[in-house]
Symmetry: C2
Subunit: 446 residues, 2 copies
């Protein structure tokens, strides 16, 4: 927000964010397993000067009923860190943000992989830290039930400390490569971490040098209290879902208000809500595009999508009946409440609710002309409810092309988005600084 | 061996396999962290029609004394699966084999990453399965001491069953993408694994479709009894270290003799010993090249290298004294014994021993003309001691270029190596078949 321009992410969810997007005639529906599709989308996003590509992740198929998975494109997709590593080799400026869970990984391995991606990409890596929220994912790792929300965040807090600590085990300028003297890295240029905590004991040092960005950019999406504290302490981007302008402003105010406690400035964290844009040259054209997609939603898929969002199996329910009372789950606390509040506020049936979330999945959805879309973006930006947006194209590549060809020119006309990259690293695009104690020259001394 | 030609791997160990290789004036010594170096080496290896690129891995810096790490190029290097994912985007035919340990990973995550690499590369992925063998690695994962050898292999046996099982949770032709009917994958095209074993409970299915190769190629390096059994049951490549022709022939005979017990044919496993070639147009030129590298070895580095090989800290010993008596470790059983046998057989001092292993690290080392090198390769190949070799260039790119420009023409003149790729997948280069029960059409039915 500091320089008056927005940050924009290209959130690729093969093949498009609308749950029936893959069925659109123009969609490259094999994008989840064919690299060339992603290469094409990534090159378009980079040519358009997006700050970053954002990839979500889950550690398992998150449908209780596999019959519905067979009717969506999302049951098969690349593992995101490997995919972004491939894209690193064919792009040069755009940031590369992958989601990895702290629940079923070891911090040493995660620290290595993102450090490796940062080196591979010349300083463009970001890690979206999530905790895994479903029993279906836990069942792939020997756990019948997911951990309680509080325990997941306690583990995540320590996990991120270990990862940041490992990235800090090498000095900025440790690698000297002096062939004559035989000194590859400078004396005492890296050292053990010797972390001993409740969840992890990790000796270190990391077996990869300090990365081009010093450390990859941390991204988070939690909106609970512990989630906000973790983000205020460590994140440079927060990806969030807010339905209304007031909610968005209050969320950002609350989040950024927590930062000084952790020795950080609010400018060093960019709040980037998800935005699902359906763009038309006229409002009617945009509505027609959207309704054409809505008509492609299979009720089996709609109920399964909704079931995933609220953490309950809804496959037995009548789509035209009311939204049932659902007990709170340990999983998707914040998302679940958003859904139920929405249904009650507007008296929606299950079908009406799943139709409502089929695209944006709880994120902002704007259907209209470029002027209408940019008006809403600008209002949220100027009100302090967003430093930018994570753009969620309904279809790929069509929805991405619509945004680039129709919306970006209007954003640029108003001076709200860059025309050229200012730097070569993700952090240079963001204009942010890393968590306190972890910037350049902040390597841990033994 | 079936078609009378060898399989060749390009084993890249930045920056070159000789421990002082990075100090050579021609070495691209920043290869461990600069992608462009690897891109160059990979493209050269692909143009030369190597079967595969092979990358080893460790989950930590394996020097007890970090002072010696500062004087080698190996303390910092890319994580291999991310690196090969990047190389997948800029190559099209060469196989891509990365090492990943079963000791500090979850099988669901490993299955996903290699399946993702197989899709990214259009069917060129291979997984070199190892168990982690050092306490220094264990200390990065909350374990003070590495597990006992037998326990590591028990876990590895179950680990590989889970991974193979997960790769088998999708039918070959499950993805149909029928936009009209809304059926993305065919009914019952994927299903849970429901594995419940001693070490792992994994529900499945995998969240990525069956891969272009059906499943990535399994590679192993263990030479103990349990290691050989695991390889005979599951591997299509075994990477091995043998000093003499007789040892090599006996190793291959023993290993392949175990395969029928697991329903497999010996032709489906390629034994590829490591080979460290120092090539000269004359034998004197080759010797000079080698001695120039030997002269660059720092005693601190030499003793640390030897210490890693035998699993003991030797930093306090006199380099010119005898090799001390060392108790067997739970770590590198087979490699350790090779070293000690060699020292006793020839009465070597510590310095003489580290000079002996500085390049090949226990693998075959041939210093000579192309004719001399090919004579030895052919003898081992024809005697049944090797189906090919994993080439370990002393320096990069110089050692690779020497092999390509001087040795490959002689191999081709004798009809021992391909002039063009026959297929597009790693398995098509090898001409092997996957483990029994896991080939095309062998998906597990629920």
């Amino acid at each position: 927000m500091t320089d008056g321009t927005m940050r924009l992410g290209a959130f690729f969810y093969a093949t498009g964010h609308h749950v029936a997007g893959w069925r659109h005639p123009s969609s490259e529906a094999d994008g989840g397993i064919v690299l060339d599709r992603y290469v094409g989308w990534a090159k378009r996003a980079e040519a358009a000067k997006f700050d970053l590509i954002f990839l979500e992740d889950g550690t398992g198929i998150r449908d209780a009923d596999l019959r519905s998975s067979e009717r969506t494109a999302r049951s098969t997709h690349f593992e995101p860190v490997t995919l972004l590593s491939a894209l690193a080799a064919v792009t040069s400026r755009i940031g590369l943000v992958a989601t990895t869970s702290t629940s079923f990984n070891e911090p040493y391995n995660v620290a290595r992989r993102f450090a490796s991606l940062d080196h591979l990409s010349g300083g463009r890596a970001g890690w979206n830290l999530v905790t895994s929220a479903t029993d279906l994912e836990a069942a792939n790792f020997g756990n019948d039930k997911i951990s309680r929300h509080a325990d997941r965040y306690e583990r995540a807090e320590e996990f991120v400390d270990v990862v940041l600590g490992l990235w800090n085990t090498w000095d900025d300028d440790a690698v000297v490569i002096d062939k004559a003297s035989g000194q590859f890295s400078k004396p005492d240029g890296f050292r053990p971490l010797d972390h001993r905590g409740k969840h992890f004991e990790v000796r270190g040092p990391l077996n990869i040098a300090r990365t081009p960005q010093g450390q990859p950019v941390l991204v988070q999406a939690g909106s609970s209290g512990p989630g906000k504290d973790l983000a205020a302490r460590t994140a440079e981007i927060v990806f969030t879902a807010n339905q209304t302008l007031d909610e968005a402003v209050e969320f950002a105010r609350d989040l950024k208000g927590r930062m000084p406690r952790f020795g950080r400035s609010p400018d060093d964290l960019k709040v980037m809500p998800g935005l699902f844009p359906v763009v038309g040259r006229s409002e009617a054209e945009a509505r027609d595009k959207f309704e054409a997609l809505q008509a492609l939603i299979d009720p089996v898929v709609g109920l399964a999508l909704l079931g995933r969002m609220v953490g309950h199996d809804l496959s037995g329910f009548d789509p035209d009946g009311p939204v049932p009372d659902l007990p709170a789950t340990e999983g998707l606390k914040s998302r679940q409440q958003l859904m139920l509040d929405l249904a009650r506020r507007e008296g929606l049936s299950l079908r009406q609710l799943y139709l409502r979330i089929a695209g944006a999945r709880g994120h902002s959805q704007i259907i209209g002309t470029p002027t209408q879309i940019v008006d809403e973006m600008e209002a949220r930006f100027r009100a302090g409810g967003a430093d930018g947006f994570n753009i969620m194209p309904p279809t790929l590549p069509g929805g991405l092309d619509d945004f680039i060809e129709l919306v970006l020119p209007e954003l640029r006309r108003r001076g709200l988005f860059r025309t050229e990259y200012e730097g070569t690293t993700l952090r240079s695009h963001l204009g942010s600084r890393p968590p306190a104690g972890y910037g350049p020259g902040q390597a841990a001394r033994g």
